[in-house]
């Protein structure tokens, strides 16, 4: 791996970290519950991107499966929380 790719990977990971901190502001401060759910969904996306970039860094396929699982859990948890704050229960 050349230093160019290492620098690019470091830059991308740093950008994801900064973006996660920025989104965390909305997660803590967010005026309503739906803002917080949306911020949590974005944090899931950032974790997924970190997993994909780590897979490129370590040349491994295992990170890809972790990213797929994170995508699945992001959908399930966000839709469950949206249903909960909409109706008060998840499964009617």
């Amino acid at each position: 791996m050349t230093s160019l790719l290492a620098v690019a990977i470091g830059f991308a990971l740093g950008c994801y970290a900064i973006a996660s901190v920025i989104v965390l502001v909305r997660l803590i401060r967010g005026p309503r519950a739906q803002d917080r759910v949306f911020a949590l969904d974005l944090l899931y996306l950032h974790a997924l991107l970190v997993m994909l970039v780590l897979g490129i860094q370590h040349r491994s396929d295992v990170y890809f499966e972790a990213a797929l699982l994170i995508a699945l859990f992001s959908f399930v948890s966000s839709s469950a929380m949206a249903k909960f704050i909409l109706r008060g229960e998840v499964i009617e």
């Binding site: 791996m1 160019l4 969904d41 909409l86």
Partner: protein, 130 residues
């Protein structure tokens, strides 16, 4: 395990840097806008461009390593493009219904005034809105 040519590493680096910038832009927009319905739009940058660039980088890099076409990073793009609209639409409905239930001022009225949407009590329009 093949040696990766330099131009592929350069292309992967450009894609990764672009993805990082897209994600930061979407996060700034998500925190900066003042209203929830405005705030729903900037994450679309991260959900489309951010993930497409990283998946493209993964496809390029793993294809160069293994010497054949490796397409499995696109699976995440396909999966996100199926699931993200569902959660976004659910959260938009949540925001709309909760605003109507709270009686906030700048809420869009229901399409039909006679049939109340499910999940909220019927409330007549106040200022003569149709």
């Amino acid at each position: 395990m093949n040696a990766v040519p330099f131009w592929i590493e350069a292309a992967v680096s450009v894609l990764l840097v672009a993805s990082g910038l897209f994600v930061v832009i979407s996060a700034v927009g998500f925190v900066g806008f003042r209203d929830f319905f405005l705030r729903m739009h900037p994450p679309a940058i991260a959900y489309t461009l951010g993930i497409w660039t990283v998946a493209g980088a993964g496809v390029l890099y793993f294809s160069a390593i293994e010497g054949r076409l490796v397409l499995h990073p696109w699976l995440i793009v396909i999966m996100l493009s199926m699931t993200v609209p569902v959660t976004t639409l659910l959260l938009a409905r949540v925001a709309l219904f909760r605003r109507r239930a709270a009686g906030e001022a700048d809420t869009p009225p229901p399409l039909s005034p006679l049939v109340p949407p499910a999940g909220e009590p019927h409330r007549p329009a106040k200022d003569g809105a149709p």
